[in-house]
Symmetry: C2
Subunit: 276 residues, 2 copies
């Protein structure tokens, strides 16, 4: 079932490219055109079957029915101003950025039919070389409408994600950023700090525990510094909550308070087991 005729994906990395693959495979788009700052990435996406053709310039958005912004947060902000004047009136624009408040606030003002989206299906492995079909299947996608969002467009974009196998959760951009600061941005900040603190010569004596706990620290530094800064206040709050827990554990350890230490760990163990 075709949902959109001409779809333009700007940014053919892991998320953008995988979206293209799925749109084409499921016949949800008439044609999918991809653009990338690095031409070789777009060419690679075409070779992988993620897009039908490579766009030559941003001008290609002019008769698009759906534009997907799948680039880092700062680039989304820059691009919006560049494409806003080029779009036809009923063109729908979505982004897939990891923070939403700043993006939604700016883009809603520039593009009438903009809807913020955040598919929770990323990976530390970026780029066109790692894209795959069905990465959204079984995942959650948050969409963040504003009171001004056209209800028909919201419905259509929800349907799009559902067709890709995602469960759609509707949140305000503000609520999204508060929650994701805790469940995604904080774990990244902690993982970057954790691996950073381990002396290089010790790395050979680690097991699966360290590898798993720091897997997301192999994520792209440039991408993540933008995400952190775009959700700075919420992340600082989440870091404070984490600090309180860490201090409690450290104090129990320092005081050799085995009973309290075990209680702290048991409460964490129980919560982690809920996560599955």
């Amino acid at each position: 079932m075709k949902l959109f005729n001409k779809v333009v994906i700007i940014g053919t990395g892991l998320i953008g490219g995988s979206l293209g693959l799925d749109l084409r495979k499921r016949h949800l788009a008439g044609q999918v055109i991809g653009l990338s700052r690095k031409k070789e990435n777009a060419n690679l996406a075409k070779k992988s079957g993620a897009i039908d053709s490579v766009g030559s310039s941003l001008g290609v958005v002019k008769d698009a029915d759906l534009v997907i912004l799948a680039v880092p947060v700062d680039v989304i902000m820059d691009l919006a101003a560049k494409i806003a004047g080029k779009l036809k009136k009923d063109c729908v624009v979505i982004d897939v950025g990891s923070s939403k408040e700043r993006i939604v606030s700016k883009l809603s003002g520039l593009i009438p039919n903009f809807l913020g989206c955040h598919p929770l299906a990323g990976s530390e492995k970026r780029g066109a070389a790692n894209l795959g079909a069905d990465i959204f299947s079984g995942s959650v996608c948050v969409v963040t409408p504003t009171p001004k969002t056209n209800k028909k467009i919201l419905k259509k974009i929800k349907l799009l994600w559902q067709k890709l196998g995602a469960t759609v959760v509707v949140l305000t951009a503000k609520k999204h950023d508060c929650i994701l600061a805790s469940t995604s941005h904080l774990p990244h900040a902690v993982a970057f700090s954790l691996i950073g603190s381990i002396p290089d010569p010790y790395l050979g004596l680690s097991s699966g525990g360290l590898r798993d706990a720091t897997r997301i620290a192999a994520s792209n530094a440039n991408l993540w510094s933008q995400i952190f800064l775009s959700n700075r206040r919420n992340l600082l709050t989440a870091l404070s909550s984490f600090q309180i827990r860490l201090d409690a554990l450290r104090l129990a350890l320092k005081n050799k308070n085995q009973k309290l230490l075990t209680k702290i760990l048991a409460s964490a163990e129980k919560k982690r087991k809920k996560l599955g």
Copy 2:
């Protein structure tokens, strides 16, 4: 090739049970007898083929050629005093505890042929229900002899781990504990604190990143409070190193210093990628 005739494994959980499976599968032992505080665990281990028979009491160690202590750190310390007087003169005793200095210091005094071991092959999944063959294959096992350790026994135990597919690293107990505080105990402390700090209602909006980063927080609280306390000073030092990194990241974020923040993340990203 039989290395030991009668082997007694005290503690038939993940590590003890998996050791039994491997010893039997590879014909490295004449017979393997298992003991567990909970009789049903030992029975389960027998059913899984991890042991030949279930020992009825600690008295079973009296004619053992190898005793393997595969119980939590505090229990290892308690058991040593209970079995020391029962062993025959040339019986070799090893443990598989996650910290070594306290254990080696105490057990070396009580048992002449004791050698501390730490196979880096654990998992947050404990117990006889999760044991598996070949979990040591491709892993690292640290052995921690003292200047008094009999060289023949060291050689034989190294061979034992090598026969199970592990690479053996020889370290002093002190060095082991310093390194593992950083590469294993710290990641556990951080993971417990991380999951502890995330509000329950937010857990539904998390992706693979949080799950991976906190997987080891599903580890047993009682086991890990013992490990933390048995390596308290080193872990407090490792926590301080982590705190320095975390504070640096937080300060760069607070000051909106994108250049510094990216530099911190890039250095972590590079180190994590080395880990593979």
